[in-house]
Symmetry: C3
Subunit: 160 residues, 3 copies
C-alpha cells in the first residue's frame, strides 16, 4: 500500500549562486516531471531566486545587502570564476549555445509542474526582504518547523 | 509500531561559515524542540563551531591554520559579504536588532535540548585540533563509520 | 525481510574543492567498506574529480574553463586558505604527515570497493568536457532522472 504513495523530494536552497541554483531547479523540475511531489525552501542567499524585484532594506545593513547582493535570479553569479560579472555572462552564453534553459525558465518550468516554493521567514526578517518582493508563486513563508515536517515525509532531502 | 519510534535528524557540518552554521544549529534546535533525535557531526572547517578556545597546531600548517582560521564560534564569518570582518559584525548587529539568537546561544539551546555533537577524528588530526580545545559537551570524537551508522537510522540527513 | 536488503548511499558531488572532495570520497569508501551500495554523481565543478587529463573546450568559454579550472583531481584546492596554490600544497603535505591517503588514492579505494561513479551529461555538455577526458572507471554519463531514481532507493542521499 505504501507503494501507492507518491515519492517526495525536499530541497533547502541556501545558496544564491547561479550554478547551485541551476542544480536545485534542475533537480526540482526533473523530479516533478517524473511524478514526484517537490517542496523547496529558500533561505539566506537562496532567497534571491524568489525575488521579483530589487528590494532594499531600511537599515544600513539592509541597504548594504541591496547594493552588494541586490537583484533577482538573473543576477546570480557562478560560485567559481566570477570575474566581476563576466563569469555570469559567459555561463549564460554557454548555456544558450547548448540550448540549456535559463534559471528563470527552469524556475517557471518547476512552477508549472507543481513544485511548491517557500521562503524562510527568519532569513527574510534578518535580511529585510518583504513578502511582496517575492514572486507571486511563493506558496507561503514558513519556519524551520514546517520544513522539518516536510522533510520527515520526504524520500530524499538535500541541502544545496 | 514503527510509528512509535522517534524521528531522527543527522547533520554533517562541514562549513565553518557563520550563515551555514546558523542554518545548521537552527535546524538542530528546531528538530530537537519538536521531539526529534538529533546528531551533529562536525568536520573540517565546521570544527570551529565546537572550539572553546583558540588552539594552534605545532607544525607550520597547524600554525597557519591558527592564524588564518583561528578562534571559536564567535569568529565565524558569513560565506558572502565578508568585507574583512565587517560582514560578521553587521550580521551580528542585524540579528540582535531582529531578536534572533547568536550562534553561541543557538548552540547552547541545541545542547540543552539534547542534541548530540561529535567531532570528526580524522579532520581533528589533520588540522591539529586536540580534543581539549573543544567544548565539554562534545559527546565523543568519531569516524566516518559511526556517522554512517547514525545516518542509516535517520529520517533526514543533510550535508551543510 | 527488508532488513536483508543492502543499505544504499547516493552522493551528488557538485563541488570540486579539495576538502569537499575529500569528504565525499571518505564517505563513499567508508560506506562501501561497511557493505553499503554507493553511487556517486559528479556535476559542475565536481567533474574535475573524474578527469584523467586536462581537456580544453573549443569555444572561448571552454578555453577559459581550461585555463582557470583545468587539471585533474590532483589540482583541486581547498575551499578556504587557497593562497594561490600554497593551501593545496600545505594540505597535501599535512595529510601525508598524518598518513591520510591522497584524493587520488581515496578515489581508487572507492573504485576497488565497488563504488559506482557517473558524470552529469548536461554539465559535461555545458562545460565542454568530453567523455574520453574522464577516467575509464566512470560507469556511464547520466541525467537528472537517473540520479533521482537512485536517490529514491537510497537510505542516505547527500549534496556535497
Amino acid at each position: 500500500m505504501a507503494e501507492d504513495k507518491r515519492k517526495k523530494l525536499s530541497l533547502i536552497v541556501f545558496s544564491g549562486d547561479m550554478d547551485r541554483l541551476f542544480a536545485a531547479f534542475s533537480l526540482a523540475a526533473g523530479a516533478a516531471a517524473s511524478g514526484m511531489d517537490v517542496v523547496m525552501f529558500f533561505t539566506f542567499w537562496g532567497l534571491r531566486a524568489l525575488k521579483k524585484k530589487t528590494s532594499t532594506g531600511r537599515s544600513l545593513f539592509g541597504r548594504l545587502l541591496g547594493w552588494f547582493y541586490g537583484g533577482d535570479i538573473e543576477r546570480a553569479s557562478p560560485s567559481r570564476m566570477r570575474f566581476g560579472g563576466i563569469g555570469r555572462w559567459m555561463f549564460k552564453r554557454m548555456m544558450k549555445a547548448k540550448r540549456v534553459p535559463s534559471l528563470a525558465e527552469l524556475r517557471q518550468t518547476a512552477i508549472d509542474l507543481g513544485v511548491k516554493m517557500h521562503g524562510c521567514q527568519m532569513s527574510m526578517s534578518v535580511m529585510e526582504i518583504p513578502q511582496d518582493a517575492l514572486i507571486d508563486e511563493v506558496s507561503a513563508c514558513v519556519g524551520v518547523a514546517y520544513f522539518l515536517e516536510q522533510a520527515q515525509e520526504s524520500d530524499v532531502t538535500l541541502f544545496i
